[in-house]
């Protein structure tokens, strides 16, 4: 059986229809204005959950990217210093070769010794190079440089600084310690060069002096090799960080695309929705103004 349609019921239905239509228009307008499909968690709780997680992941990716960039900078700096160190080491080799083959008198060797002392000081300076507050080859030890002023190697143990640059990733060392290239099985390069300098100047025991000079000369290729190994490590680590940076960039892009897909609206679709909902509202308002609330009383005269 059909209901009796009363005036109150008609009014309630009309009010409800207008209210619903206005809500739809408001929703379409809000989405179009903000450009977002999710403007509050209740718009899509699951989507909100995903977006929060992805935004956090994205923030972490950005931090990792920053760390990787900082690591690359440190590695490049280390490589540059080691390049200079290698050049100075080559000069020391040339000088010692001359000293070993030069039979001149002791007085004539003095300039060679002085030059060697200068080279030793430069090597010490390069090994103690600083990057801001820390030492390029100081590793985790920051309180004092690798070599003390008197050239004695710092006895405090140090390890390479390592950074995490990827989620769940292994640590990547962003440098090498001075110990790895300034010492061999016998001792430090500085001690060796200082001994050679003393020998060049002459200790009164020509045979021993010659042995010291040639011994140091023999050790220099080893130090050079250690320096090369250190540079190779830096280069490899730099390449690793380059790859990581690329991966982080791609991951960041993928996360951003996913977030946008979940969070943002299709502008064209939203515009069509707004038009449609507006048209529906107009239709309800027009029909209600034309036909609403008429009764028999209007026609009785």
């Amino acid at each position: 059986m059909l209901f009796r349609i009363t005036d109150a019921a008609s009014s309630a239905r009309l009010t409800n229809q207008i209210s619903t239509a206005r809500q739809r228009v408001a929703l379409s307008q809000e989405q179009l204005a903000s450009g977002k499909r999710i403007n509050r968690p209740s718009d899509d709780p699951v989507g909100t959950d995903t977006v929060i997680r992805l935004r956090t992941a994205q923030s972490q990716l950005e931090r990792f990217t920053n760390n990787a960039a900082a690591g690359k900078e440190t590695l490049l700096l280390g490589d540059g210093v080691l390049n200079q160190y290698q050049e100075v080491l080559d000069q020391a080799y040339a000088l010692l070769t001359r000293a070993a083959s030069d039979p001149t008198v002791v007085e004539a060797r003095e300039p060679i010794a002085i030059e060697l002392d200068g080279i030793t000081a430069r090597l010490q300076q390069l090994a103690n190079a600083k990057n801001g507050d820390s030492f390029v080859f100081g590793g985790t030890r920051i309180a004092a440089p690798p070599f003390a002023v008197n050239g004695v190697l710092n006895p405090t143990a140090s390890t390479e600084v390592a950074l995490q640059v990827e989620p769940e990733g292994t640590l990547v060392a962003t440098g090498v310690t001075a110990e790895s290239f300034v010492t061999d099985a016998t001792g430090s390069i500085l001690d060796a060069l200082k001994a050679a300098s003393t020998a060049i100047r002459g200790t009164g025991n020509a045979t021993a002096d010659r042995a010291t000079i040639t011994g140091t000369l023999d050790r220099l290729p080893g130090f050079s090799s250690l320096s090369n190994i250190a540079r190779t490590k830096l280069g490899e680590r730099f390449n690793h960080l380059e790859e990581v940076t690329e991966r982080l960039s791609q991951a960041n892009l993928a996360v951003e695309q996913t977030v946008q897909r979940i969070e943002n609206i299709d502008i064209a679709e939203a515009a069509v929705n707004l038009t449609t909902t507006n048209t529906a509202l107009d239709a309800i308002l027009q029909s209600s103004s034309k036909f609403g609330r008429r009764s028999l009383l209007d026609f009785l005269g």
Partner: protein, 465 residues
């Protein structure tokens, strides 16, 4: 053949019937928009015929009787309407109370807990790469302060929203007491009116509206008694109104938060439906969210403090707690603070392990990793802080969405039930216009008939002159 005056009585009755009919239609028209009004109709019947009038042997009618005025009600629909109104009241209250909660959690570009968590743990990630930098330590402390502010602001907002809901419960209790008193009073008036054969339709309408309002607030059920009174009972069967007696609802402060517990005449009661139930659900839900927020703050402070205390600061001193430990009670989102010593001297922020050298950033790394460490325990939940916070926000959204969805469905059900009620009890102006015409014409006809009767009487009287 004598003068018959019975025609005048028939005419008088017909005029009276027409007059009452027009009055009832007018009353209906006047109340077309009155909430809860029940349309009325005149109850007419043919008067008892007389015996062998005019010695004809035929039985003539004696006109029309007005037996009464009837209000059109359907008890079944009225009960359904009360039930659906109560459900609607609960869902509306729940939705309205919970909607601000999701706003409290809403993550803007900055300012929310989510962004603050990212900033705080991200600062430790920066410190890992620059373990000797004092400026970054200061930034870490600042991000800790920002996180603390975000916890404070969100908890404070949640507490405020819960307080507002609680205040609404108290206000609703007062409203129910007023309405219950009114129903008890109307019970008495209706009983007396019915006993005196009066028209109690208007009083019943008033009572129905009051009962409807009580149902919307408390979900109270009503039972009609033989004497015309109604008994209202709450969810656990306790009577709110019985005959002319109304019980008193109270909202009493309950420790530890001082939130309202609803009692009836001092005894505990259960309200299972209606606005009060919705508000109580919302209060409980918000309480759960506050607890989760407190648990999150406590867990986070505990794990960060443990990791931080395991290392050494920039001066080589043993690390201390990063977040302040309250003098009494656990860390909550309310008392979550960066330790004063670190605020005063950021060099006390720990980046590296003890003995590993100032260039070590392993402790900073360990702390940065806590954000996504799935082994974190928050209350009874195990997972990463990111996931737990995301769940907290999404569950707040889901609660609003569920209440909203249910409310849309319930509103449709309520509208349908209301339409059913209106179909029986509502006023149709079309019908009333027809009734007006009908009774007006009947009145005119009766008047005409009286004129004919008068003319006939005059004719007879003239014959005798």
């Amino acid at each position: 053949m004598g003068v018959n005056f019975s025609m005048f009585e028939i005419g008088r009755r017909a005029l009276r019937a027409g007059q009452v009919g027009v009055e009832v239609a007018s009353q209906n028209i006047a109340n077309v928009n009155t909430p809860g009004y029940t349309r009325q109709t005149v109850q007419l019947s043919a008067a008892v015929p007389s015996d062998g009038l005019l010695n004809t042997g035929f039985h003539f009618g004696t006109g029309v009787n007005v037996d009464g005025i009837k209000g059109h009600r359907d008890q079944f629909i009225a009960t359904r309407l009360r039930t659906e109104t109560a459900v609607n009241g609960r869902l509306t209250a729940e939705r309205d109370a919970l909607a601000p909660v999701e706003a409290a959690f809403q993550e803007g570009d900055k300012g929310g807990i989510g962004a603050a968590l990212q900033g705080f743990f991200g600062a430790f990630r920066d410190l890992e790469a620059n373990p000797t930098a004092t400026a970054i330590r200061a930034a870490v402390v600042e991000k800790g302060n920002t996180l603390a502010s975000a916890f404070h602001a969100t908890r404070s907002r949640l507490t405020e929203i819960r307080q507002q809901a609680d205040q609404e419960v108290r206000a609703a209790v007062n409203t129910v007491n007023d309405l219950a008193g009114k129903v008890a009073q109307l019970n008495t008036q209706i009983r007396l009116a019915d006993a005196n054969d009066g028209n109690s339709s208007g009083l019943v309408d008033q009572r129905t509206v009051a009962i409807q309002q009580i149902a919307e607030i408390t979900g109270a059920r009503s039972t009609t008694n033989a004497d015309g009174t109604v008994t209202l009972t709450l969810g656990d069967g306790q009577a709110l109104v019985y005959s002319d007696q109304a019980a008193k609802l109270t909202a009493e402060d309950t420790p530890p938060d001082g939130l309202a517990t609803v009692k009836i005449d001092g005894q505990a009661t259960v309200i299972r439906e209606g606005k009060v139930r919705g508000l109580q659900n919302a209060v409980a839900g918000i309480g759960g969210q506050i607890q989760t927020l407190d648990d999150l703050a406590a867990s986070l402070a505990g794990r960060v403090n443990a990791a931080h205390a395991a290392g050494s600061d920039l001066n080589g001193n043993a690390g201390s707690a990063f977040f302040a430990t309250p003098v009494s009670g656990p860390v909550t989102a309310e008392n979550f603070e960066v330790a004063a010593a670190l605020k005063a001297n950021p060099r006390r922020v720990v980046a590296g392990a003890t003995g590993a050298g100032g260039g070590d950033g392993s402790v900073a790394r360990n702390i940065a990793e806590l954000l996504s460490d799935t082994a974190s325990v928050v209350g009874t939940t195990t997972g990463s802080y990111t996931n737990i916070f995301a769940s907290l926000v999404s569950s707040a959204g889901a609660a609003v969405q569920a209440a909203d969805d249910e409310l849309v469905t319930q509103s449709a059900i309520l509208a349908q039930t209301q339409a059913q009620r209106d179909s029986v009890s509502g006023v149709s102006l079309d019908e009333e216009a027809i009734n007006l015409l009908q009774y007006q014409k009947a009145y005119e006809a009766a008047a005409r008939f009286l004129r004919v009767a008068d003319e006939m009487t005059q004719t007879i009287l003239q014959l005798g002159q």
